[in-house]
């Protein structure tokens, strides 16, 4: 088995007095597209932010491609698409300018953008179907188009794994269709993904594995087929109660 792109072992994330994610194991391997499901408040976003060091880690270890360190330290390999309903717009900025930020970690602070950087930015914008709008101001774009800008920014860093926090939430149907196409193309090109979502239907074609989070623990981890069976079980309350795992039974596959 190849080294996972990211492997979290017994990680806990939270704030001073509150543990949100409790001793959880999760790894994502090459070529996997993992949907991270769970009710509001179950710790999905905290887990994702924690992987990038944005929420204090209270315990456990994170390895990126076998090296210890959170996802922000190995920026070359893991791209982050935060949950945003719109981009900050206190000054004018174009799609290209926002996406170019995805290249910054890949060059020293004193070095200006190279032709290679600009090519990767243009390719990332094209990959999310915004080539026509590369020089448009982000404030003039629709919500769905702005989400694609965020995806392009992460793609500009040529990540092996893309971690996305609710990329399809609050987006109209036409934009969801385009987002699904974009994610499908990325999956086909071999980009692994970890997608926090409430809308599994939109991603159904590309997802290879489903992880369900509940109250900071993993409640289900398996294939989409097994998930359908799990849901059928969950319709019988007493059976569902028996399905509540402890962390030692949730070590991925």
């Amino acid at each position: 088995m190849s080294t996972p792109l990211i492997a979290a072992r017994a990680v806990s994330f939270g704030y001073d007095d509150r543990v949100v994610v409790d001793r959880l194991d999760l790894s994502v391997g090459v070529g996997e597209v993992v949907a991270l499901l769970g009710p509001n408040g179950s710790g999905k976003s905290t887990l994702v932010k924690g992987l990038f060091g944005l929420v204090p880690r209270l315990g456990g270890t994170i390895e990126v491609e076998g090296k210890v360190g959170d996802a922000s330290t190995d920026h070359a390999r893991i791209g982050y698409v935060p949950q945003r309903h719109s981009l900050a717009q206190s000054v004018r900025s174009t799609v290209s300018e926002v996406v170019a930020a995805g290249r910054l970690p890949h060059r020293p602070w004193w070095q200006p953008a190279t032709r290679g950087d600009r090519d990767l930015v243009a390719r990332a914008i094209e990959a999310v179907g915004l080539r026509d709008r590369a020089h448009a101001e982000v404030s003039t774009l629709s919500g769905g188009q702005q989400r694609r800008v965020l995806i392009a920014r992460a793609l500009a860093g040529q990540p092996a794994l893309l971690v996305m926090d609710e990329p399809t939430a609050g987006v109209d149907h036409a934009s969801q269709v385009v987002l699904t196409e974009v994610l499908g193309r990325l999956a086909a090109s071999g980009t692994a993904m970890l997608v926090v979502t409430h809308e599994l239907d939109v991603l159904a074609d590309v997802v290879t594995r489903i992880v369900c989070l509940d109250a900071g623990h993993i409640d289900f981890d398996g294939s989409p087929g097994a998930y359908a069976a799990h849901l059928a079980d969950a319709d019988h309350p007493h059976v569902h109660a028996g399905h509540h795992h402890d962390d030692d039974s949730t070590g991925g596959r």
Binding site: L54, A101, L104, E126, R131, D132, L141, V178
Partner: protein, 334 residues
């Protein structure tokens, strides 16, 4: 006018400030911290007065006070929201009050001196100061220019920048320190109470003229230099304080630009033709034939030509055959 030593020095100082202040200011606007420069200026006054009282160069003591205030601003911001706003108020008002009191206590601190530092004066830039100003201004411009993609990224999305491994806190502290240095460089010609205006107003005008972040900065710097030169010249002939005159020129620039821009947008909107509403997004794989059209691509949709514009599609069909490549929505488009 140019025959006078002090005027040549004032004009050089004006150009330095006209470039440096808007360059730093754009990131303050982006971070929605437009008034921070003003607060740092208040604290710098305490430094100036301490210089007068102790017989040290006011420029040096002001620099120390301002940089300390800049660091404190970031520290308070980093500690979180609760009480941060009040802490800043205490620091800023404490700074200016201390400055006025120390100035009154010092034997050389006359009310005329106080006014010159608060509102700017043509007469106060000595050639010795000018060299130091030039060095500091060059430092601010150089560092800001080299790091501008990083400052932009951090101000645009701090969380993402942190997740991608940029040294966010260090960049924020550095921006704060550069702001403080700019305040001190500008205090003689613009004045401590007005320097923030030259950081912000040219950017407000630049926003109206530029269609990208890069263009906004270019406009802001051009406008900053223009306002500083016109302001200093006017101040010389009208006998008014230089800083206040420069700021009034900057406000006139902003109002004229806003008025002209508003009129132009109204005209352009009247001529602009939207395609019928459709939920479909055109793209390389949408199935509609793509037709290159000048600098963009039209998509043939039921016999019409649709082109991307902002979040919708424009109708480009009716003028597709014209030899004139300009299309109806030019202006808002670029």
């Amino acid at each position: 006018m140019l025959a006078l030593d002090f005027m040549r020095q004032a004009l050089v100082a004006a150009v330095l400030v006209g470039i440096a202040a808007p360059m730093i200011g754009v990131f303050l606007v982006q971070r929605q911290m437009s008034l921070i420069g003003d607060g740092i200026g208040h604290v710098a006054l305490a430094g100036v007065a301490a210089g007068f009282l102790t017989g040290t160069m006011p420029l040096v003591t002001a620099l120390i006070a301002a940089v300390a205030a800049g660091g404190a601003v970031e520290f308070i911001r980093l500690r979180g929201r609760t009480g941060g706003d009040l802490a800043l108020a205490v620091m800023f008002y404490g700074g200016i009050a201390l400055g006025v009191v120390l100035m009154a206590l010092s034997p050389t601190g006359t009310p005329a001196n106080l006014t010159a530092y608060l509102f700017g004066s043509l007469l106060t830039t000595s050639s010795g100061d000018l060299v130091l100003f030039a060095v500091l201004a060059a430092l601010v411009m150089g560092v800001t220019w080299v790091l501008r993609p990083r400052f932009f990224a951090v101000a645009q999305d701090e969380e993402y920048s942190r997740a991608s491994g940029l040294p966010v806190t260090a960049l924020n502290v550095l921006l704060s320190v550069l702001t403080a240095v700019t305040v001190v460089v500008s205090m003689r010609i613009i004045g401590l109470l007005l320097i923030s205006a030259l950081m912000i107003l040219p950017n407000a005008t630049g926003q109206l003229l530029g269609r990208s972040f890069a263009a906004t900065i270019r406009w802001a710097v051009a406008i900053g230099v223009f306002c500083a030169l016109v302001g200093v010249t006017t101040s010389f002939y009208a006998g008014t304080p230089s800083g206040a005159t420069i700021v009034l020129v900057a406000i006139v620039c902003f109002l004229v630009t806003a008025a002209v821009g508003g009129l132009r947008a109204r005209v352009v909107r009247a001529q602009h033709e939207r395609a019928e509403r459709h939920l479909h997004e055109h793209g390389p794989a949408c199935g509609h034939p793509a037709v290159p059209h000048g600098d963009h691509v039209d998509y043939l949709h039921d016999g019409h030509r649709h082109a991307a514009h902002a979040d919708h599609w424009d109708e480009h069909a009716d003028h597709a055959d014209r030899s004139d490549p300009a299309h109806v929505d030019e202006g808002v488009h670029r």
